[in-house]
């Protein structure tokens, strides 16, 4: 079929998934018993008839299910999520405020865990059967089965409460909210866009707060990557070309990383891409443990406080992220694996 046909098929599938997600969202929030709309409508019985009718009209609740659905689809596709129940700000604005925080935490920990897991996995595969191998497998299994939030709590307890080395909450020193942020390195506009390059003090403060959550998250994620890398590397190392490379006299490091890892990396890359998609839902727990003011923490607050526009929007965005991540993974798969390109 070739690469182009593969990509087209994937794009089509992506749209099907998207519609499915939107529909499911609609079903949950509009039609389930105990759904927000019904609660809203039933509380309307207390108001006078005209008021009830007026509100129903304004919110479009008395239109048919089909037309409501179409409007919903349109809203979702144009990123119109409405206003949050708390604070009455547009949901898009609330999200954009917190998105950078979440990306900072989750992005950095994912990258770090990926690098750490791959390198350690390669070493473990290289020294198969040795102490390092069994030791790291055991450690990875253990950290995989520990509950994240529990380790987070213990880390907080040890480092933050008892030893007082690291702060326990928020993304930057709270004083900055009152005294202002430290001076940036450079501030100005390029082509009309505001660019701010933070100075060393800013970076230091943020890094100080970032350290503990990032460490805990990395500890949890690297286990999966280690196990996966080790498994694929073990398989790749049994191939003949490795033997040839060693016979040629190449350094062991070159053999491992340039030859074996490249060929073993296919499942790894797709797994990493898929994990990026699930990053946001993992963020919920982590950010709540550390009270990190990001998207995950906000999601949890919205769910607890039943802030339906926010929940809907976030749900949709997460599903969107997963769909896009899967698509990218499939794309990468198609590009890297020549069997698809030429088969």
């Amino acid at each position: 079929m070739g690469l182009r046909g593969y990509i087209m098929k994937r794009i089509l599938y992506m749209f099907v998934l998207l519609m499915f997600v939107i529909t499911l969202n609609f079903i949950i929030f509009a039609m389930m018993p105990g759904s927000p709309l019904e609660r809203f409508a039933s509380s309307m019985k207390l108001a006078s008839q005209e008021q009830a009718e007026e509100l129903l009209n304004r919110w479009g609740l008395n239109e048919s299910l089909g037309s409501r659905y179409l409007k919903y689809v349109q809203n979702m596709l144009t990123w119109n999520f409405g206003r949050s129940f708390l604070g009455n700000r547009p949901v898009v604005q609330e999200i954009s405020i917190r998105l950078s925080n979440t990306l900072l935490l989750m992005g950095s920990s994912t990258i770090l865990s990926l690098v750490l897991g791959v390198i350690l996995g390669v070493i473990a595969a290289h020294r198969r059967g040795g102490l390092f191998d069994s030791g790291s497998v055991l450690v990875s299994l253990t950290t995989y089965s520990l509950p994240t939030f529990w380790m987070g709590m213990i880390a907080l307890m040890v480092f933050s409460t008892q030893l007082g080395w690291l702060p326990g909450s928020s993304a930057y020193p709270p004083v900055w909210d009152y005294g202002g942020w430290p001076a940036p390195l450079w501030e100005g506009s390029i082509l009309g866009a505001q660019i701010v390059i933070p100075g060393p003090a800013t970076i230091g403060g943020i890094a100080y707060h970032l350290f503990l959550p990032m460490m805990v998250l990395t500890l949890f994620q690297y286990g999966g990557y280690l196990l996966l890398t080790r498994a694929t590397m073990l398989e790749a190392l049994t191939e003949d070309y490795i033997l040839t490379a060693r016979a040629k006299g190449l350094k062991e490091r070159t053999v491992l990383f340039k030859h074996a890892l490249k060929n073993a990396s296919l499942p790894l890359i797709t797994s990493a891409a898929i994990n990026f998609g699930f990053m946001l839902s993992g963020a919920i727990i982590t950010e709540t443990v550390f009270t990190w003011p990001g998207l995950g923490y906000w999601i949890w607050n919205s769910i607890i406080q039943l802030n339906y526009p926010a929940i809907q929007a976030v749900f949709y965005i997460i599903a969107l992220c997963v769909i896009i991540a899967n698509f990218i993974a499939d794309l990468l798969y198609g590009v890297i694996d020549p069997r698809i390109k030429f088969g």
């Binding site: 949950i28 529990w150 907080l156 997460i318």
Partner: protein, 475 residues
């Protein structure tokens, strides 16, 4: 092997829960001090000041005349009279107790010609407080009933006397009417920070001021009668005089912010966590099995549809969906089990389907079809037993995920309020002020979750090795 042992231990504990622990954690609170250390802490150096629960009075009621012997009585009058002429008698009344049989009766029969200003009767109990540090809080009880009273003002007060002789009044009240029923006075409760004792110490905790050292303390109930002219016979019954002291250490694992025993919580939580984990894993596996079998065997359109459907479900973010659905449907334990189960069948369905597809081509299936076996018969009798090994292994490996999901849900706050689970313990520890510092509250539940998960994983791997000989390594 290790996994099996650990698992059996936990299952055993969960069944034995009501036997092992004397308290029901949902309802019993404040059985000891708040944030009490585990009691074995006392044996560590530098911790001699911790105290444990002390029951000052072993048998609070007066069940028999012998009980009177535990108490000391002292009667003084103003102006002083000799013993024979004292108008007060303290006896044991058999039939008049409060909750138990028997009470202590204090009878005042004014003798003709006696002009007394006041009569002071004390009932004292001496007990030994063996700890060098104060209790976390204490509570005194006195229950009395004024049977008859005529022209006499009766003042009843309760106080504590420390080894040096200082008196601390716990409560005091005056009465001049009969009380039809028993009056129970919970003289002070230091939890609620009220009462004469707190006021005595300028609204600060009385426990460390009073119990400053180990020694013999006295619990005194004092009745002062002030007879007026024409005073008549007066009878007061006392029962259930009790003093309980709650220590700063208790139990195997201490207590939490409400004084609940953490060990009890842990044991009861084992039941729920295991129950939820197993049940949701079973649900996942069953759904996955059915879908995989049907899809693999019946093939073509149904197969395509089911697989596309499961792919779509895979795309949905598990945790947010779980959160949303539980928030909408209500956090009951069955909802949680159902939702966790429904979230996890997709992977297994794929694996089963692959296995079925490969099994379908085997000659024995062809033979069965040739004989005329119906489709269901083939699935149930021939394919299913070959897939069972997969089922067991996947079941063992899915349970940790389910347990972790339930713990995560509880920790985020969506737990069933009527049950105690490990995730809920962690949630309480995080949300209560000062909870994070209390390591004996934070560590045990998480440790248990980790150990149980690990044991299931080990079990799964062991099962895998047993059922799949190809995986066995040469040792």
């Amino acid at each position: 092997m290790i996994g099996l042992i650990i698992l059996v231990l936990f299952v055993g504990i969960s069944f034995a829960a009501p036997v092992v622990t004397p308290y029901d954690p949902t309802y019993q609170t404040y059985i000891s001090g708040v944030y009490a250390y585990p009691s074995w802490f006392r044996y560590l150096p530098n911790n001699q000041h911790l105290s444990d629960n002390v029951l000052a009075i072993e048998k609070p009621g007066f069940d028999s005349p012998v009980a009177l012997g535990d108490w000391d009585f002292n009667i003084t009058t103003t102006p002083p009279t000799s013993e024979i002429e004292q108008p007060i008698e303290i006896t044991y009344e058999r039939e008049s107790g409060n909750l138990r049989k028997g009470a202590l009766a204090l009878t005042f029969l004014p003798k003709a010609g006696q002009m007394l200003e006041d009569i002071n009767a004390t009932i004292t109990r001496t007990f030994n407080y063996p700890y060098t540090g104060p209790p976390s809080r204490f509570r005194g009880y006195v229950t009395f009933q004024i049977k008859e009273i005529e022209n006499v003002t009766l003042k009843i007060s309760v106080f504590l006397e420390d080894p040096k002789g200082s008196k601390y009044v716990m409560c005091t009240d005056a009465y001049s009417q009969t009380t039809p029923k028993w009056v129970s006075v919970d003289s002070i409760d230091t939890i609620w920070q009220s009462g004469p004792l707190w006021r005595q110490f300028n609204n600060s905790d009385p426990a460390p001021r009073i119990f400053r050292s180990a020694g013999n303390y006295k619990y005194v109930v004092e009745a002062i009668l002030l007879p007026k002219e024409d005073a008549g016979p007066t009878t007061v019954y006392f029962d259930d005089l009790n003093l309980r002291m709650f220590g700063t250490s208790f139990g195997i694992l201490g207590t939490d912010y409400q004084g609940k025993d953490i060990f009890t919580d842990l044991v009861y939580g084992a039941r729920i966590s295991l129950f939820v984990g197993l049940l949701s894993a079973v649900l996942s596996v069953v759904i996955g099995l059915v879908v995989g079998l049907v899809s693999g065997f019946l093939g073509s359109v149904i197969d395509e549809l089911l697989m596309r459907f499961s792919d779509m479900l895979l795309v949905l973010p598990t945790l947010p969906l779980l959160l949303v659905l539980v928030a909408v449907l209500g956090p009951s334990i069955w909802n949680i089990i159902f939702l966790i189960g429904v979230m996890g069948w997709m992977g297994f369905a794929r694996v089963v389907r692959a296995q079925v597809l490969s099994l379908k081509e085997r000659p024995f299936i062809e033979a069965a079809t040739a004989v005329g076996a119906g489709k269901f018969h083939i699935i149930l009798r021939h394919i299913l037993p070959n897939v069972m090994s997969l089922v067991y292994v996947t079941l063992a490996l899915t349970v940790p995920g389910a347990i972790l999901s339930e713990a995560a849900l509880s920790w985020l706050g969506l737990f069933d309020p009527t049950v105690m689970s490990w995730g809920r313990m962690l949630h309480d520890a995080q949300s209560q002020a000062g909870g994070i510092k209390v390591w004996w509250w934070v560590i045990p539940p998480g440790l248990c979750i980790a150990i149980v998960s690990l044991s299931f994983i080990l079990l799964g791997y062991a099962l895998d090795e047993v059922l799949n000989p190809k995986l066995r390594q040469r040792r």
